[in-house]
Symmetry: C2
Subunit: 785 residues, 2 copies
């Protein structure tokens, strides 16, 4: 059983085995924690690169965040054992590692905290995890209540495994003065020059408490013994924890609190768990997060999360949709935009889109993103593969592979920023180049970016793909310097159209003419070289093989070359209907629209790495939500609002949907993908990647605001051109826009002639609300067909 708490922001999951991978996530600018309903956790913090403070029991590889990571017995977690010190009976809250059937279980992830309420054997355990805004530390509150009539002797044992910290040095001890278990380690190194760097890393993990424990354990191996975490030796036979330090063993933080509880008596404990450089830092963290300071920290953190609440609040006939769009979607957009996914070198494409989402949350950030990106552009117009956010940052992973599409996204973020803020002065802002201190206007930066993309084309006029565009792994199409991208042919057109719309007053007419002519040329090229059967091909390889075409056995049709054709206004009406039919027949599934189909099951050496990804996962034929969000946007563009809404609606793993269990997650975020390959591997299709890092949120949010609700900014003010799903008759929305507030009531009417737009009772003759004041509230009535 699971439900969302009506009118609130919180979900409730009452069976920990129903969707066992369900997790909530919390973050601040320093850290992120993904907290599984059963008690398993994935957490990392910046120091200065992403680093973990709780580890698996083996040496883990350093990598980018991976999808579908399995939980297992010794996975890092935050576990609370409860032992009846008379009978010896033990259970663990929230559920793992013992996983005993409980009398009741409730998992309640919230916007700024994650709660559980677990009852068993007349003992109620309430857990609450929150963060602070400023520190990298977990703040835990644990309340134990006896519902017995008799006096109960209970041991509460929080057990936070710390795992394999380092082959060079690890250990743990209890510090009486700090009332903390301090796990020490030294980041291993062999090269002398690494020593100086590593010295500044927070190699300590600690657990501090506001209550003195009766006993502590510092060794994971000693705690488990031969029994294992489901039946730890340390808790069997009514034993107490050892109070011993551990030396070059996997550390763990365990404390034992012996409680004598009267009938209905409660006891509360507060813990702080996280990384630290030294004991002074632990002391400081304790002072700021335990005792009297805790309340303040918790409130500040809630305010921080609240600051990302976004610009709309919907009340529609679809409660689950409202709930997601009002609470969890802007929160996901905020997470991306405010933290840059906790990397120091975000992919340029991601950085720009995460920044774009912030236009609807905190547009100052969007401006910073635009200017920061352009300051790393080369003076020949080329954008780098990743944007470096710290002085020490370096391009890692996929950012070392040459991609050709980064400038496309510049136009899209700028468009959203201008829509929302009307800050046209940004076009005049002077910005230097990565290879020159001479500053030029944003307008000039953008022109050079467009020109560079226009030049990077072949004899046909098609853009080179190099070792990838979007998505990344088509790394063999054009690595010899000849292969071209169908998608980029369309994306370049879309980017140029957007840029022409933005810059037509500021650019010279000859420049605009030049772009217009390229746009027209690209459209002709697409029809000539890409259109085959009923859709557009994905590209043409170094050896001249057109792929993503009807004759292909695998990778026959790609979503992106259809949706971006719609966005670029390339197909005619006949083509549109052919494309929609093909998409619905080949790409649509109960879980969403797949990125390509059939997914590649074997390597195709002229196409690339996508074909080595597991069919249906990641970029190989999954329901890749980021692409699906673009498809939704493109459907609005060709005036298919019902189709568009369905695409968006399927992204929400709504407990009411029949596909909920298969997806295996609560709808607290849109994952980067649901498994696809629906016709090839139906049994696995629909599973969530359980990864909330994705460009999806920004586009989902933008599509809802600007397209579905039709509340898009323009130079003159706020346009109102809704594209509401057919089944909805009424809805109302609160929209914050340029510091004014609009309550918009939508009502469906039968005929075009009945449509109207009224502001504070006054009927407008256009679709644009232009005379409004910051700080004021307006009531808008929209009658639409």
């Amino acid at each position: 059983m699971t439900k969302y708490v009506k009118g609130g922001e919180r979900f409730s999951l009452t069976d920990p085995t129903l969707v066992p991978n369900s997790a909530g996530y919390l973050w601040n600018k320093h850290m992120m924690i993904h907290m599984n309903c059963q008690g398993y956790a994935v957490a990392q913090y910046m120091n200065p690169e992403p680093k973990k403070y709780a580890h698996t029991p083996s040496m883990a590889a350093t990598s980018f965040m991976q999808p579908e990571q399995p939980y297992f017995a010794n996975h890092p977690g935050r576990f609370f054992y409860l032992r009846d010190d008379q009978s010896g009976e033990i259970f663990s809250a929230p559920f793992a590692p013992i996983k005993a059937p409980l009398d009741s279980f409730e998992f309640l992830p919230g916007l700024s905290d994650i709660k559980w309420k677990v009852q068993h054997n007349d003992i109620c355990v309430e857990l609450c995890l929150t963060l602070s805004e400023e520190f990298a530390a977990e703040l835990w509150q644990v309340k134990v209540t006896s519902n017995s009539k008799a006096i109960r002797n209970i041991s509460l044992i929080p057990y936070f495994p710390v795992g394999y910290m380092s082959w060079m040095n690890m250990g743990a001890h209890y510090d009486d003065q700090l009332n903390a278990i301090v796990c020490t380690s030294i980041t291993p190194y062999q090269k002398l020059e690494d020593y100086a760097k590593n010295k500044h890393l927070k190699d300590i993990t600690f657990l501090a408490s506001d209550v003195k424990p009766n006993y502590v354990e510092t060794s994971g191996l000693r705690f488990e013994g031969q029994g294992g975490l489901h039946n730890p030796d340390a808790l069997s036979s009514l034993a107490n924890l050892s109070n011993q330090p551990c030396h070059y063993e996997m550390p763990a933080c365990a404390m034992q609190f012996q409680l004598e509880l009267e009938a209905h008596e409660s006891r509360e404990f507060n813990f702080v768990f996280g990384p630290a450089l030294d004991k002074t830092e632990i002391e400081n963290l304790k002072n700021h997060t335990l005792g009297n300071s805790k309340q303040e920290q918790t409130e500040k953190y809630a305010q921080y999360i609240q600051s990302g609440k976004g610009v709309i609040n919907i009340s529609s006939p679809d409660e689950a949709f409202d709930h997601f769009v009002n609470h969890w979607l802007p929160r996901q957009v905020f997470y991306h935009g405010d933290t840059n996914r906790l990397t120091t070198d975000p992919q340029t494409r991601n950085y720009l889109q995460d920044g774009m989402g912030m236009a609807y949350v905190n547009s100052e950030t969007t401006k910073t993103v635009i200017l920061t990106s352009l300051a790393q552009q080369k003076s020949d117009g080329e954008m780098p593969d990743g944007i470096l956010l710290t002085p020490e940052a370096q391009l890692k992973y996929i950012n070392q592979i040459p991609h050709t599409d980064h400038s496309v996204w510049l136009t899209l973020i700028l468009d959203a920023y201008l829509n929302e803020t009307n800050d046209w002065a940004i076009l005049e802002e002077p910005v230097a180049w990565i290879d020159s201190d001479e500053k030029h206007s944003v307008l000039e930066h953008m022109n050079r970016a467009m020109d560079h993309m226009c030049q990077a084309r072949d004899y046909r006029g098609m853009p080179y793909i190099a070792q990838g565009d979007w998505c990344d792994p088509m790394n063999m199409v054009g690595h010899k310097g000849k292969g071209v991208s169908g998608w980029l042919t369309q994306a370049l057109s879309f980017a140029l159209q957007t840029w022409v719309r933005i810059s037509h007053q500021d650019n010279t007419s000859s420049k605009i003419q030049e772009y217009q002519s390229t746009i027209e040329q690209l459209s002709i090229i697409a029809d000539e070289h890409l259109w085959q059967g009923d859709w557009y091909a994905r590209g043409i390889t170094d050896d001249g093989v057109t792929f993503g075409v009807p004759d292909d056995k695998e990778g026959r049709i790609f979503l992106n070359t259809q949706s971006w054709a719609f966005l670029a206004n390339m197909p005619n009406e006949l083509q549109k209907s052919q494309m929609l039919k093909a998409i619905e027949e080949q790409l649509d599934t109960p879980y969403g629209v797949m990125l390509c189909a059939p997914a590649f099951t074997a390597m195709r050496e002229d196409v690339g790495r996508v074909t080595q990804k597991w069919p249906g996962s990641g970029e190989n034929g999954s329901v890749y939500n980021h692409a699906a969000a673009f498809y939704a946007a493109s459907l609005y563009n060709i005036n298919q609002p019902d189709r568009a809404f369905n695409v968006l609606r399927k992204m929400i793993a709504d407990p009411q949907c029949p596909t909920f269990k298969q997806r295996g997650q609560l709808p607290v975020y849109v994952p980067n993908y649901y498994r696809g390959a629906y016709y090839q591997y139906p049994s696995a299709a629909g599973r969530s990647s359980n990864l909330f890092n994705t460009g999806t949120g920004a586009w989902f949010y933008r599509a809802v605001i600007e397209e579905m609700l039709g509340l898009k900014g323009c130079k003159e003010g706020l346009t109102v051109t809704p594209k509401i799903p057919q089944s909805w008759e009424h809805l109302s929305v609160t929209r914050t826009f340029r510091q004014a507030t609009f309550t918009v009531n939508y009502e469906r009417v039968k005929n075009e002639s009945e449509t109207s737009l009224t502001v504070n009772g006054e009927r407008l003759k256009t679709h644009v609300i232009s005379n409004f004041q910051a700080g004021q509230h307006y009531t808008v009535n929209v009658k639409f067909v």
Copy 2:
């Protein structure tokens, strides 16, 4: 309870929780498996670099072999579940993951196989793991016997977890034709150029059987379910395995055999488990290792192991010592020398010493090692930090750090090789240089190596330490180019003395004079700059600080600068007794002699990385057996045979010793260290590193043969100069030497005058047996004091 099987090579451990980390190990030239008594396993193979075919459930880091790796619930293992299909009762053999108390348990690691015999609920399970000589594959035999009178319905379920193979692609299916579970994956990559390399990797892991299973399971997560490996969902409620493939999940190999066993009926199953490139390779492996071929493979593998049996067989009053030296020690020496520790770039120091051990196993290998090493020497005489064994090999890990001592070890391997083979022609062998095709004799190579070391000295005449010598982690003593090594001052002297002894007939007398004068100079230098208090200091830092001296709070005394002073004949008699006293007071422990003391507990920035290792582990104050072996050799050199024997004896984790349980391993190998820091962290002291990669074996074996037994080769033949422990009155030894066999009977006499050496009844006047024939057997009687 544990014992060794008298007269045989096999140990028996009857309690799986007594020393739970106890493991046997098997290898061939392609792979190595370290098989824990409870069923956990660490295995890797060369492809071409070390690679795993069974993984943990998380993304593991690629690293060199680590000590004291913990086992945990989801650690890779080879598990056999036995379920009573009437009662549903389940246990697992050998012990994990269920770890149910068994009626009886026996772990029987052998030289060429590892066996278990487990009985529970009237079911007997006999397991046998062996390898083949030529393939990278595990060969398992499982015999299930019913000891019930009634008919029993039993399911046997071998469960081999395969773990997190790859984030890019992993899955598994059952191949009916192969009768194998085939787990597929693709080694992840992002850089295009890695694709071509990865194509040739054996990305498949498979389990094939000679019996058709009734059901199979391919998914680890589905097998475990929410129950975990100790209580897997797949086996609860009398369920049968799912027969389903798994898609982008952690693969596992599980087969279910439903058996109906009459009273005392047995059933036998054979499995092969390992990596493969493709199904053709699986087919081929099956054909060679199952069915009729299995017996042949097993015998060939036993012969291969037998070929490394070494050159002595002792029968002394110390049965445990004999057992270790006759069986397990030469096997460990053979493992090192025959596989180069399964690396492609062995550290030069390791490669030469592992090759030295082979002088007593298969001296052709020793010759190859000498010539291979010298062919990678620079023409200026400098030796590289690692020796590259394949065309693709690259220097990794510690081999990227400049060390100064590699040429020392050249003299030691050459000395042992000449002792054993009398192959003086090797000195004339022409060898090229890494930077020149012009060939020069081994003599010239050796001279240049010595000259290069002699030149790399400071104004005092002391050798620079650069970023390390032996042991590695003193990386800050001399990184500025000034710091010098006390140990290398002695080691250079010892190397030169050895080289002078070897080359005095072939080198010019002026060359010999030059070396002699350096030897004398080094002795004076050591006394002047290193002798402080009662021992020799470890070195002098870049800033002129002498360390390893009485005033130091930590790292006050280092073993190596005492033992190598003994080897280099530097101290006078008074100094010797002072040094021995200091060693015994500060370094000796019940578990052996520590490398330094007190171990460093905090970083000392003028000394280096050793001080960041956990105190008592690895090179920071552990009982580092490699160094202890040199200490034993040095004690023989100063005629302290009882002290020497005690040092060697403590390396054997003998079940009869009171320290057996603390060490936590069976004596099937000498680990690279036992935990030290005995006076600082007594509770952890003595624990085995559980790592059998160490230079210890070769020196232990050499010290026993050439020093203790005194059966050392020379130009004239076999010298007989025993240094037998005081407590032994008699012993007899079979010694294979230059293709003759000597049965040597030792008898202690009271006075020097009674000593004698008799060969085939004829009394010799010297200590050298010189007239003997290859292929002949000689009876030697030695009367010694």
